[in-house]
């Protein structure tokens, strides 16, 4: 029975603890999986759909976007047997998109030139476009073959192909048809432009001249531009022309009845040594049906301005939030001119000041800027004839580390106060008014540093379950200044909790005493019994004594005797086993006093008589036995009767 209970208990315990815990500890409905155990798979339909999307972008002339997405396929996680085919497939598309982009660019340019009656470059552009179109057709044929190989490798036509894969293949085929159509359209456009070119060659050519006066001027000054528009030596009247500075139009003029034109323009505030002007004639309206376009020869003039010299001095290591000074001198042709000075950190403007000659700006770097290398730029804005100037300097944004001098006691008695003192500083000096947070177990105290960076903290260490051992005090300093780093240090202290330690010792000693006393009691009992008798009496295994039902006078006597023997067994440890006679037990009992021994001898005699006599005992005998029993018990317990 006991074994069964033990077995069932152990099974129940194991059943509760081990199989249940992982289930109990695993919340459901969380969306992630172990990457080490997950399996990889290729989504074939997704691959084909991606190519279809890329081709669709190309058919909308978004070649750059299509190319970018194609480049990203290099990052695709593909099986090796597919990877090579995909690389070749992508390579073909890459070439096709580049070719199509070139064709469109060439045809656009040719179309634009033809629209403005500029035919000089058109023929070569169209020839170039035609060669590219031939290349595109060749690439399309290669792509068709590669598509068949890829779809075959992906198992599009196998029985096991999913409907998704089949649909994706269909979409890819449609996309390929669309790009074939695109190449055909471009080919048609090329042929159309070639026909326009032939028509334009029949128009009259024009000539255009340009002269600038004066040939040298300050920026902001007015200059005059003039010239003549003619066709085969005859003036062209009312022709609309544009005057360009480099590639930017600066004026529009019309030719007069003699074909001449004239205009004045202000020299823009561009601070460089020369500027080049050109006049362009592009016939429009009715003129477009008669004349070809023409450009004047370029006219270059010398530009004059006052250069600005800028000298800057600044620190190369800056701390975020900590002010620093940028000083220097701006010199504008030795003129006493007030200039606008701006300071940037990378692209962010930090300060601006109007100054003449020497200047000095106090600047606060942004508090949120991450540490690292930056560019400090000081710029002087241009002003009329005075050019601008820029000085760029590499700086490093840093955070100042914190240094600690901390004193903590080496031994701490609990409960009690722990005195922590110290000083906080960095390379710029002591850190003032900074919150210092000291933590010891669950106790925390915050103070602020004084003017010299010093602090003193009295940490309350309350009574808790600690005994003895090393513990950690952590000290956090969070400076108010953003240029200082937040810092934490820890110190070990040896803690002693006298109360808990004493208690633990007391409990251990008490346990030891109890165990020792029990052992001594057992030993005392063993010593009281003669060794010879100990061998004879198997008292270590007490047997269950049969309990006959005792009634009548005889029962009263036996009951009294049994009460006394039970008391003797408890006090002396001598057990009355079934094989011991009443007299033998009387001898073995060794009662503590002679009076008790006499009474127990009399009680034993009465009991023997009651048990073995042929006559029933009298009422008085039973009363006597009961009185003797009471006296013996009292004697055994208190030593008095």
């Amino acid at each position: 029975m006991k074994k069964l209970i033990i077995t069932l208990s152990i099974i129940a315990m194991l059943g509760v603890i081990f199989p249940g815990l992982p289930i109990l500890a695993q919340p459901d409905q969380l969306r992630h999986e172990n990457p080490d155990t997950t399996t990889g798979s290729l989504y074939e339909a997704g691959l084909l759909l991606s190519y279809s999307d890329i081709i669709n972008l190309a058919t909308e002339s978004q070649y750059r976007s299509a190319q970018d997405i194609l480049d990203e396929l290099e990052h695709a996680d593909l099986p090796d047997e597919i990877q090579y085919i995909i690389d070749q497939y992508s390579y073909l598309f890459e070439h096709l998109f580049t070719t199509l982009d070139n064709i469109e660019a060439l045809l656009d340019k040719a179309s634009g030139l033809l629209a403005n009656n500029r035919i000089n470059e058109v023929q070569s552009l169209l020839d170039h476009a035609l060669a590219e179109i031939d290349d595109a057709y060749t690439l399309l044929e290669d792509i068709e073959v590669a598509t068949d190989i890829l779809t075959d490798k992906l198992g599009v036509f196998t029985i096991s192909a999913t409907s998704q894969l089949t649909q994706a293949h269909t979409r890819l085929e449609i996309s390929l048809e669309r790009i074939n159509d695109l190449v055909s359209r471009l080919n048609s456009l090329n042929q159309n432009l070639a026909r326009q070119y032939v028509q334009k060659t029949k128009l009259s050519p024009t000539e255009l001249s340009l002269s600038i006066d004066p040939m040298a001027a300050y920026v902001g000054e007015s200059i005059s531009a003039s010239g003549r528009l003619s066709s085969n030596g005859n003036p062209v009247m009312g022709g609309k022309m544009s005057l360009y500075l480099d590639s930017n139009p600066v004026a529009t003029v019309y030719s007069g009845s003699d074909g001449t034109y004239s205009t004045s323009i202000m020299l823009p505030h561009i601070y460089r040594e020369t500027m080049t002007f050109t006049t362009v004639y592009e016939p429009s309206g009715n003129y477009a049906s008669f004349y070809l376009a023409s450009d004047s020869p370029p006219a270059t003039i010398t530009t004059k301005f006052y250069p600005t010299l800028l000298e800057v001095s600044s620190l190369t290591r800056l701390y975020r939030g900590l002010p620093f000074t940028v000083s220097g001198e701006v010199n504008s042709n030795n003129d006493n001119i007030i200039r606008n000075i701006m300071v940037f950190l990378d692209d962010r403007k930090l300060a601006e000041q109007m100054a003449s000659g020497q200047f000095s700006l106090e600047i606060i770097p942004p508090e949120k800027i991450p540490p690292g290398p930056r560019e400090l730029i000081v710029a002087v804005s241009p002003l009329d004839r005075y050019s601008g100037a820029t000085v760029q300097q590499s700086v490093t944004i840093s955070i100042v580390p914190i240094n600690f001098d901390v004193q903590t006691p080496s031994i701490v008695l609990l409960p009690g106060d722990i005195q922590v003192s110290g000083k906080v500083y960095n390379q710029l000096g002591p850190i003032k008014n900074a919150p210092v947070n000291c933590n010891f177990r669950k106790s925390s105290t915050t103070v602020k540093t004084s003017g010299d960076g010093s602090f003193t903290v009295s940490l309350k260490a309350p009574l808790d379950l600690l005994l003895v051992g090393p513990q950690e005090i952590s000290i956090d300093v969070i400076p108010l200044e953003s240029w200082s780093a937040t810092s934490t240090i820890t110190r070990q202290v040896f803690t002693i909790n006298p109360l808990n330690t004493s208690l633990a010792l007391f409990i251990l000693v008490a346990l030891w005493l109890v165990i020792r006393r029990r052992n001594q009691a057992l030993k005392y009992t063993e010593e009281q019994i003669p060794p010879s008798e100990m061998v004879e009496i198997p008292f270590t295994i007490p047997l269950r004594v049969p309990q006959p039902k005792l009634t009548g006078i005889k029962g009263q006597v036996l009951s009294a005797y049994r009460g006394v023997t039970a008391a003797i067994e408890k006090i002396t440890g001598v057990i009355m086993s079934p094989d011991i006679t009443l007299r033998e037990f009387l001898k073995m009992a060794c009662l503590p006093s002679p009076a008790a021994t006499d009474r127990f001898t009399e009680l034993t005699s009465i009991t023997e008589t009651t048990l073995y006599s042929a006559y029933s005992p009298l009422k008085d005998t039973a009363t006597r036995a009961q009185r003797l029993a009471v006296n013996i018990k009292e004697e055994l317990i208190s030593g008095t009767s």
Binding site: M13, A25, R31, P35, P462, T486, L499, F506
Partner: protein, 298 residues
Amino acid sequence: MELRRFLFIIAAVMIIALILAAWFLPSNDDYRLDNPFWNGIKNIKDEYEVQPLVSLASLPSSPTRATLLLIPYLSSIPTELDHLNRFVSQGGRLIIADDYGHGNEILAHLGLEARFSGQALLDPLVNYKNERFPRIIHLQPDPLTDNINDLVLNHATSLLNVSDTSVLAMSSPFSFLDYNGDRTREANEPTGPLPVISRHELGKGEVILISDPSIFINSMDTIADNEGLIQNIADTASVLYVDQSHLISSELYRTRNWLQQARDILSTPIWTAGLVLAAIVAALIPIWYKKKKPTVEN
């Protein structure tokens, strides 16, 4: 009497065994700092100085440059939302890493327009092993993405209503949001590039959104440059707090919590004094019992 004593001993042994198991068995709860298994974030605790937070009320009053990593798998009460608002507005950096949790409640309270889409972000091509692990290769230059070439997410989602200037990382053009869970890109399902990490300035502080908290788990930090992201977060934070109060708890974790609370209560001066008194009484009982034993037995 003997059977009763035996059953008492068995019950006591079982209770002690359960307590020891709850106390010493390592946690396997998701995103727990003390979970050393694949789904925990103990590596972060081991490699960086992090402060676990069991209550948002413990956030510092002056949080300048402090960072809080929050995985909101449980809803936040209004008081907690106020704590978060105060933390950010006073200069703290709040990193909300969420996919299918309660991050949008926090964003709404903070007054940000950005949201977590809550739909599965799949990438059938640019991925790690399969489409549920999208590889992120579009990263904007930022202190958080410094020295990172690619990241790998694990059952992620994407961000919505994020401006181009706020985006720090985007998925590949092949990725898409799987609205209907059929793992196939449909015409109505948004395709990549989709934002997965963004930065939003708020008050004196800022909010960083990461559309997958699993990027921080132990089994993911060695994949791609995921560890670099954690490193950058730690490097740019004066103090890194990791919230543990909005994670789903298992029974094992709850039991351990109760035990810890019990220990904490017993560690208070009053309870410790009571415990000391009880121990003294318990130690004296056998002595007192021994002296009185004959009378009792009599």
